[in-house]
Assembly symmetry: C2
Homo-oligomer: 114 residues x 2
DNA sequence: AGTAGTTGCTTGGAAAATACTAGCAACTAC
DNA sequence: GTAGTTGCTAGTATTTTCCAAGCAACTACT
C-alpha cells in the first residue's frame, strides 16, 4: 500500500459531518420527532402522543434544537384559539429519503430482542 | 378528500421500524461508533479515541448493545498480548450506505452553530 | 528486577440528561 | 361554573453518562 505497509494507521474516525448529524439525531427522541413530522405537520400535543413517552420539557427542548438547526419550523395561528404547528423545513424535507432508507434498513435488519 | 374533510386525522406516528432504529441510534455515541467502524475495524482504545469524549463504561455498554443487535462482532486474538477487534457484521455493513447518505445530508444541510 | 505504558475492560460516585408532575393562560363545550 | 384541551414552563426525582481509579496481562526500557 501507499504507506509501504509499515506505518500504523491512525485510529478510525467517524466522518465529521456524520458526527455532526449524530450530535442532533443521537439525542433521545430527535429522530422520532422528525419521523412523526415526516408524515405530516403536527402540534405539540400530537407530537407528544406520537412519541409515546417523551416529557413535555424535553419535547419543547428538542423542537427548539431542531428549529435552531433549521430542520423544523414553528407556525402559529393566533386563533382564537392559538394553534401551533411544527413542520419540516426544506433541510428537514431533504432528510426524509435518508429516514425512509433507515426505516427500510431497520425493517430488514433489526429484529425484536428476544 | 377521502375522509370527506370532516374526520380528524389520527396524530402522526413515526414508522415503527424507524422508531426501532432510533432506539439504537438515538443513544449517545451509537451512531458515531458505527461511523468509526464504517472506516475499518478497531479495538476498544481506538474507538475511545475515535469518539473523543465517551466514557469507557458507556463505550463498553454501546458495543454490547450493538453486538446484541447484530450490527457489530467482537473478534478476540488471544495473543499474547490479547487483542480485540470490533467489526461491522453484515447488518451493520448494510447500514453503511444510509450512514454515508446521512453524512452527505449533514454536509449540505447542517451548519455550525453561530 | 523494577518502572512505565498500553490494552481491554469494570466499578463507584458526580454531573448531566430526561421523566414526572403540577401549574398557567386561553380557549371550547356542556 | 366545571371540565377538558392546547401549548407550553418549572421544580423535583430518576436515569444516563462522565470521571477517575483500579485490575490483569502484556511490552519496552533502564
Amino acid at each position: 500500500m501507499a504507506d509501504g505497509g509499515t506505518v500504523e494507521h491512525a485510529p478510525p474516525q467517524c466522518d465529521a459531518a456524520l458526527t455532526h448529524a449524530f450530535e442532533l439525531l443521537g439525542k433521545r427522541w430527535s429522530g422520532v420527532i422528525l419521523g412523526a413530522l415526516m408524515e405530516r405537520p403536527a402540534g405539540f400535543a400530537a407530537l407528544r402522543r406520537a412519541t409515546g413517552g417523551i416529557s413535555d420539557s424535553v419535547l419543547s427542548e428538542r423542537l427548539g434544537e431542531l428549529g435552531a438547526a433549521g430542520l423544523v419550523v414553528r407556525e402559529v395561528d393566533e386563533g382564537p384559539p392559538v394553534a401551533v404547528r411544527y413542520r419540516l423545513a426544506p433541510p428537514g424535507e431533504a432528510l426524509v429519503p435518508v429516514l425512509r432508507d433507515l426505516g427500510d434498513w431497520a425493517r430488514d435488519h433489526l429484529h425484536a430482542a428476544p
